[in-house]
Subunit: 463 residues, 2 copies
């Protein structure tokens, strides 16, 4: 938790941003819910508690079952939760009072949890606007629905996004620390790659480190010899020789900040020539993207530059043919990289995703593409200092997708489907770093960049 002044200042900024929505006296309230415990099995057997990120940003308290209301006219805040009784103390130990927790984050007024509902209903009776953000957890969806609150406030979302998109120095320090942990965890994973080992064994080692040093992993670990499946969470395969292993994983720090790195390794310790060609191309794309990142550049343009670079390389290898400009325009790169170049990262690994991908990642002057790949780009905005984004190009050979394009005749003039046949068992490669936009350029987060150049990767592997 930061000093109370941080939360006071953030809430003040939010209130002043919301002042534009209506004249004084007509602005209403902003109602926020923290998370409750999420059941894994039965209700009392929860997953490890994770607080809502927007809640953490404005209210700091990382305990379940809190709510708050910001009065946008009066500028005051009220914190809602229940003080512990003797049964709670027996089962979960003593807790500071709600009033004292409120004080720690600079809130003068507190009340029982049930009073949140009453305050919302009172505002509704008075016909004051009630601004909410989209709930991520189903418990909060239920609760908001019961209160008749089903429409998120675009004004509130825009105000929050404008603040959380630009990381404060204190947040950057925590992101650097989370990236440090993420890089250490990746080294553990890399060092454990051995032919014959079950993937789950490596995942356990990595996630154990994440739990020992941080909150845990910032998202379910992707560790797979089927890199062509982006979010592959089954880990029952045994490591085979000659394959490529994609590890996409990050640590969330105890303070709630994410890291997110991807590296791709030859399971036998050395790339085959075919693997090295594709790997080198992805590596060059990663470096090219980083070199472009600076304030004023739209990340959508960086994505498109990478697509161009990728198509040039694939043309040299002989997997596509024709005019590169035309291929970029036609979206041919989407066959090989059907995802975006990167996303915002902060308290969420895809920062603020539930506030609406377009409101978070697209400026008012930008429209989301419908093309495969570019259409999945979560961050298109013109960059400003303090943005934290991922740089994660990848090349994949997805048999089902290639077969579909071939059958549909999609971009048949450019794609050498005949040659792609030889890549159906290739898998995929992705290389991801976390990048801070600085005043005059960019800096990769974390103290020790994971080895990425092909020779460095081979040298780093323990074989």
């Amino acid at each position: 938790m930061f000093d109370k002044e941080v939360y006071i200042a953030r809430r003040q900024t939010l209130v002043s941003l919301m002042a534009a929505t209506a004249p004084e006296g007509k602005r209403g309230i902003a109602a926020f819910l923290g998370n409750v415990d999420a059941p894994a099995q039965y209700k009392a057997n929860g997953y490890k508690f994770r607080q809502d990120s927007t809640w953490l940003y404005y209210f700091g308290i990382a305990e379940p079952r809190f709510a708050a209301i910001l009065d946008l006219d009066a500028g005051t805040a009220t914190l809602y939760s229940d003080d512990y009784e003797i049964d709670d103390i027996i089962w979960t130990g003593p807790m500071p009072s709600v009033a004292s927790l409120a004080e720690r984050v600079g809130i003068a007024a507190s009340a029982p949890y049930a009073a949140f509902d009453e305050a919302v209903m009172a505002a509704q009776v008075q016909e004051r606007p009630v601004h909410i953000i989209p709930p991520s957890r189903y418990y909060n969806t239920l609760k908001m629905k019961t209160l008749g609150l089903t429409e998120p406030s675009v004004a509130l979302i825009r105000a929050i996004v404008s603040m959380r998109l630009v990381k404060e120095d204190r947040e950057i320090a925590l992101l650097d620390a989370a990236c440090d942990l993420g890089q250490q965890m990746h080294a553990i994973g890399r060092d454990a790659i051995r032919v014959g080992v079950v993937e789950q064994d490596i995942v356990g080692r990595m996630e154990g480190f994440a739990l020992a040093k941080g909150w845990g992993v910032s998202f379910p670990t992707i560790l797979t010899q089927h890199g062509e499946i982006f979010h592959n969470h089954s880990h029952d395969c045994i490591i085979e020789p000659g394959r490529l292993m994609v590890i996409d994983a990050g640590v969330e720090s105890n303070e709630g900040y994410a890291s997110d790195f991807t590296r791709s390794y030859p399971t036998s310790g050395r790339f085959t020539p075919k693997q090295r060609d594709i790997y080198t191309l992805v590596y060059e794309c990663n470096e090219a993207a980083f070199a472009m990142i600076r304030p004023g550049v739209a990340y959508r343009d960086v994505h498109l530059s990478v697509a161009r670079r990728m198509l040039e390389g694939l043309k040299a290898i002989g997997l596509v043919e024709g005019d590169v400009d035309e291929m970029v325009a036609a979206g041919v790169a989407g066959l090989f990289m059907p995802h975006g170049l990167g996303h915002n990262m902060g308290l969420d690994v895809h920062d603020m995703e539930d506030l609406g991908e377009d409101l978070v990642g697209y400026g008012d002057d930008q429209k989301r593409s419908s093309q495969l790949g570019l259409g999945s780009l979560r961050m298109a905005r013109r960059l400003v200092p303090g943005n934290v984004i991922t740089d994660e190009p990848g090349i994949y050979f997805i048999p089902a997708l290639i077969e579909k394009w071939k059958a549909d005749g999609t971009n048949a003039a450019f794609v050498r489907f005949d040659r792609l046949k030889d890549y159906y068992d290739f898998g995929g490669i992705r290389l991801e770093d976390d990048v801070l936009v600085t005043a005059d350029g960019a800096r990769r987060l974390g103290p020790n960049r994971l080895p990425i150049a092909p020779d460095d990767v081979e040298a780093a592997m323990k074989h």
Copy 2:
């Protein structure tokens, strides 16, 4: 997943148990929901998927977003889920078709996920009874609520409980395997206890093992020098000399079966005389309980016998005084052990808790006590072969509770509040094994019982 015959037989048994609820043609349907992914941050960033236990028992498929309907009149089953489309294949890989998954668990009919809602509504229009169990997950609560299904069926719950309470041999084998993993994980924890180490560090090592070899931990690990706080999940303390460390933790196997063990260790490697006295008493209670476990004995009576044994010991130490029978009747043991002696264990670590603690743990002839301790007993039933229960006595010194009893004058004739002052910084001790009720007695689950006798514990610690 077991062979399809297992699921077919279980569903047939369930249908025949439900036959008693109404004449043929009037029995209606039983509607089951599997789990969907549980969001940790935003919706697409979920916790590790965990299937609903009742779903696993009758339908076996450990994938998100499945539903099923058992027609209790026709005796037929239908499985509901959506086949993957190209986007799903890109992001999460190929999946067998819903029809082929249905076939694997012996179900002939399948339909899209949305057809589940239609089938429920059709049954409602026909005024057929729709039996459901209480949803554990809030997503399922929302879904059932939308369908107007808010009242769980006691008949269905009773039928399910009667089956799941008595473990099949194939389940016992999996519970033994989960207990093997749980015992290995405990050994890792024990070996890592060192003065100066942060508790979180040990938790990470243990949970990493659970993830490497099983699904993960079967409940959030309790590892604390404040054993007097039962469900203490903060791990930011540094291990201090001369304290007691309670480790209550278990592994869930990849097949979904739980283990649950507790041991208590002297942080310096040797018990102080004061610690050894209390420890020895808890150890004797654990052994005494196990010696009583056999078919025909009510576990409520085992709890009460342990309470008696505990009070005799505490009287010898001088912390209570008076007639032991009177103390048992007055519930004096609840001050020291404000929880029950044990609970059922199976696919859930507190097996079936969300089906209703009393329906699961209490026979028709048993009433739940309102006394502290006995009132928290989750398993009171007369034991039958195939029951799997925990044996977990504990003694704690909870300052807030002792002060409350003192202030209220609760059992003032028996409790030596003056002497308890010396135990306010003692913490707590709990010792837990998992026990199978056999044809003629009991067997502890897991191949290697964790050291428990005081000398054995000291000998096992690496110092």
